[in-house]
């Protein structure tokens, strides 16, 4: 069996999910200039929500994606109105601390409700896999991959084809300019916060069928979406996708060849390299430190 090929396929499958997971974070960062450290916990919230629906309503986590999306959208708008709208008037790094406080709050609240045990959503098709040539492909991973790509593509269409989407991109590129052409930024901020949070919640459904989770897994996920945004760059969906695949390749290959424990360190080291040699990321249209 060709290990390299197997690893490559694994990276692709994981990369698709990573892209979708990170795209909400990158959107919020790019448009609102908020590095939301609670984003990982949002994903975990989505995972618990879909677990809840699975357990008590018998709803398959794939089918409950729209529920997560809608809940996330409302949640995002609520948090934006209650917290971030006020926080955005402060120094940007105060917003960073606030979002960390939110992360502490969410993860500990989940811990109160569900305890720290590892939960998983055991869908009936969970364990299946098939052989494609010499490569083993897990059905769940393939399903998650396809759904992630579809959802990311839908977002791409939304941002590029609809008026609201174009307005969001305009605000991301140039707040003042967008105001001049009659776009109301505070409305766009709300929509973007809702959309970004909706994406995080929905990716929680997918995360929940890929692997087990605990209330405190959000921190690591936040690190991952941050890495993806730096690796890929900001400002376009394609950037998050490139970053997502790159992170997946780094993780899969370094854990196979160096050991599981090294994968995050290698990813962080690559990130430092990117920061030094390509500060806009692989495909970024906006330098991440630009707004000085």
């Amino acid at each position: 069996m060709d290990t390299g090929l197997q690893l490559l396929i694994e990276s692709l499958l994981l990369g698709g999910f990573y892209s979708f997971m990170a795209v909400g974070f990158a959107l919020i960062w790019g448009v609102l200039n908020i590095l939301n450290l609670a984003y990982g916990s949002y994903i975990i919230l989505g995972a618990y929500l879909s677990l809840f629906l699975f357990r008590y309503a018998g709803l398959d986590p794939i089918l409950s994606i729209p529920v997560s999306f809608a809940t996330g959208f409302l949640f995002g708008i609520l948090v934006q109105k209650l917290i971030f709208n006020r926080a955005m008037k402060l120094e940007p790094f105060m917003v960073l601390i606030i979002s960390f406080g939110l992360d502490v709050l969410i993860s500990n609240a989940l811990n109160l409700l569900f305890k720290a045990d590892v939960r998983s959503i055991n869908v009936s098709y969970g364990g299946d896999s098939f052989l494609l040539g010499e490569v083993i492909i897990s059905k769940v991973k393939l399903l998650v991959f396809v759904l992630s790509l579809l959802l990311t593509f839908a977002l791409y269409l939304f941002l590029n084809r609809t008026w609201t989407g174009k307005a969001i991109r305009a605000v991301a590129l140039d707040r003042d300019g967008a105001m001049l052409v009659g776009i109301n930024p505070s409305q766009i901020f709300l929509i973007t916060a809702g959309l970004g949070t909706a994406i995080s919640f929905s990716s929680g459904n997918l995360y929940g069928i890929l692997q087990g989770f605990t209330p405190f897994d959000g921190g690591l996920l936040t690190v991952k979406v941050f890495l993806i945004s730096i690796l890929g760059g900001l400002g376009r969906i394609e950037s998050a996708v490139a970053g997502g695949f790159l992170l997946a390749f780094i993780e899969i290959f370094s854990s196979f060849y160096m050991g599981e424990g090294w994968k995050l360190f290698v990813a962080l080291a690559v990130m430092v390299g990117v920061l030094i040699f390509r500060p806009r990321g692989l495909l970024g249209s906006k330098y991440y430190g630009e707004a000085q």
């Binding site: 105060m94 917003v95 601390i97 606030i98 709050l105 941050f226 090294w262 995050l264 430190g289």
Partner: protein, 299 residues
Amino acid sequence: MEKLSKLVLVLTLLMYPLPLILSGYWERVLASVFMLTSLTYAQNVLLGYTGYPAFGAIAFFGVGGYATAILMIKAGLPFGVALIVGGLVASLLAFAIAPALMRLKSHYFAITTLALQIALAELFANLDITGGAYGINLPIYRGFLGTQIFYHIFLSILLGSFLVNLFIEKSRFGYALKAIREDEIAAESSGVNTVLFKSVAFGIMAFITGLVGGTYAYWITYIDPESMFDPLLSVKMFVALLFGGVGTVAGPFIGAFSLELVSELVWSKFVELHGVVLGVIILLVILLLPGGVLKSRSG
């Protein structure tokens, strides 16, 4: 010296003989209060006076702690020497990376230091010399002072870091930092070598933070990447600083004492709610009191 600073100094000195009458529980609580206060003073040098929020400053806590532990275990150095060298290692590392790192500002700087913290935690979880994910066991202190020794070391670091802040508030050196905080370009045009001074400020912050980390390591006698690179500690010192008042000499003292005592009281009564309450405190402090109780201008 203004009134509040004097009060802080007097209170600090008065706390030296306290262990004679304190229970073991309160001795430990106060030791952890002193620890947070020292960390907050360290951040005040950097954020309060120089204007750089090192959100991942706990990286240097970890470096100081690990360096102290390794020097004691592997090199057989006595604790005091290992501690000082550990602090120096942390501050040299900081000084070396400062010129590149401090080209970033505000939350970009903050998040990059946080990335550094996570990267170091990962690195230390994989190296042999740091004991990998299992960490390092330190010897237990059996000297004549017993557990009081940690109370006194933390209190002394607190006193030292308070004096550093007082010095910065009043001195020529401090004005270079304040000029950088106010406007870095204008500081340069006024003859301030900004790269040098902000690197020194970063190094001072790392030195104090490293000393606290080294003492903490010896105190808890067992360290691993999780306990030495805990992001919760980072956020606690920032909340304490923001609550007390950024860029004031008394602010860190007020902020850290209130935060740590409150969280200790909550902790002992409702262990389960602790995290939730901490999260709420963070949100409330920043949303309701973004300037802190004390204002830097009054100083």
